[in-house]
């Protein structure tokens, strides 16, 4: 395939992915919006008004970046894991496997699809959050860069989960038992300065903490951790996950018998 044909193949996968999540919007777009609105109402307004400030910010302004990031993470991940596993389950992934589309294009196509949903939902949630909280952007480059990298990283993780998954249980285990605890313990709702030293140190191995804090820095200008370190961690994880996903596609593990 020449580069133009590769672009067409990538564009086809991406369009198919976007069409998929738009077609089933009551399952893909509506639930995260409702969930986030509930978070804002309950944690931001009802409980938040009694909490007061966190790291010098009104509580609703503190949680808003975390809630936006949470929707980017879960939607990027769940789009790729459900779409790719669905293709495996229905066996229409074979349409791609018999074609000359290189594996790295398949990978990029699915990841771009996941990012489209993650960033799309993130954008809608950001607009909604403006209704509940007043905030301005402290650093646009940091905000955009970290949200892109986070969406990329979790789309890659979703793809790896889908490749390994053998049944529908396997695609819900990681989001339920790994992703949700990491997100809730990743500094979305609290500053890690509130934790004792042991729990604070333990939190430092949670990659979500770096993303949420970098994003919060981009929006509000405050962070619990070093921003350069945050970008380095997310960048490193993304590179590792990219090559792992590519390797799995190249070897045909769990895709070709």
């Amino acid at each position: 395939m020449n580069s133009n044909q590769k672009w067409i193949a990538f564009d086809t996968i991406l369009r198919r992915e976007i069409r998929r999540f738009l077609r089933i919007w009551p399952q893909t777009l509506l639930p995260p919006i409702i969930t986030i609105v509930l978070y804002f109402v309950i944690f931001g307004q009802l409980i938040g008004s009694r909490i007061g400030t966190m790291s010098g910010l009104p509580y609703i302004q503190f949680v808003a970046p975390g809630l936006i990031m949470m929707s980017v993470i879960t939607n990027s991940y769940s789009n790729v894991v459900s779409s790719f596993f669905g293709s495996k389950f229905q066996r229409n992934i074979e349409e791609l496997l018999v074609s000359p589309t290189p594996n790295w294009i398949i990978l990029l196509g699915y990841v771009a699809g996941g990012m489209s949903r993650g960033l799309g939902v993130g954008f809608i949630v950001t607009l909604l959050s403006l209704y509940f909280a007043d905030f301005s952007i402290h650093s646009l480059p940091v905000t955009i860069a970290i949200v892109l990298m986070t969406s990329l990283m979790f789309s890659l993780a979703g793809l790896i989960n889908a490749i390994f998954a053998a049944n529908f249980d396997d695609i819900s285990i990681i989001p339920t038992f790994v992703l949700t605890p990491l997100t809730y313990l990743g500094g979305v709702f609290y500053s890690i300065d509130l934790l004792s030293e042991f729990w604070r140190n333990l939190s430092m191995i949670n990659p979500v903490l770096y993303m949420v804090n970098a994003f919060r820095y981009g929006i509000a200008g405050i962070t619990d951790i070093n921003i350069v370190w945050a970008f380095s961690m997310v960048g490193l994880f993304s590179v590792l996950l990219f090559f792992l996903a590519l390797r799995l596609l190249e070897t045909g593990s769990r895709l070709r018998s």
Binding site: Q5, A9, N92, V98, R256
Partner: protein, 315 residues
Amino acid sequence: MQPALSIKNLRKIYDNQFEALKGIDLDVAKGDFFALLGPNGAGKSTTIGIICSLVRKTEGVVTIFGHDIDKDFSIAKQFVGVVPQEFNFNQFEKPIEILVAQAGYYGIKANIALERAEKYLKQLGLWERRNEISRTLSGGMKRRLMIARALIHEPQLLVLDEPTAGVDIELRRSMWEFLKEINDQGTTIILTTHYLEEAESLCRNIAIIDHGSIVKNTSMKTLLKQLDRETFILDVREELTECPILEGYLLTLVDGHSIEVDVTKGQSMNEIFIELSLQNIHVISMRNKANRLEELFFDMVEKNLIDAAGGQADE
């Protein structure tokens, strides 16, 4: 002339150590209509899976129009279109979307893909249903959709794994016509089927695979010549109460108006008609009891099974 498909010493051992292919060799000439037959589990689908990259081979070399599927995979894949045994498209998408997306995976621009999709959907009688969710199509329509999808990049080698399974006879015959037409236009076709009548009427060359080995690889004509016994059903005008006796022939009374007769090589149907006529029995029509290829196929495959059973008993 360079073959459309060349397979050398192809072996496949699955993870559970089952040896599905035991080093097969096979050449399919350009423009051929080739039948790959065998009982369930013989290795047909594994062979097809390897040709189209869905199954990883353990050993051997596969080339498609001279392009190695390992070394030149991108070019080799452009030459092949595959219609699998089971439905493997997204049942929630529309036929037109499925075809255009498949074309995209081959790097074909959307405008060309749309033109081709229209052409093949019309030829296969699916154009009116192009915007309906594929799940709502009938079984026969889904099979035709998979044929259209396999043709969207206009491959020179089309591999069909039991394309007419579960399709009614009328539709099956229209699919045969369509396949004959594209074969006449130069597309090489490899067909696996359980309908041996289908293979006999469509294919020029044939390979029979059993227990992972090729047990026969020849032309259809040569193979059919090997048939040394055929069974015919004769429908007679007179009502028969007992089976007529003809010297040298084995006859069985099927019902009051039908006789079954075994005819071996060298025996003459004329002789049978004359002898029956002398007994005031007039034949009004005749037909093969079973398809000729079917008789040969069962002879070969059953012989293998008996040999295998005998071998095990000896051990």
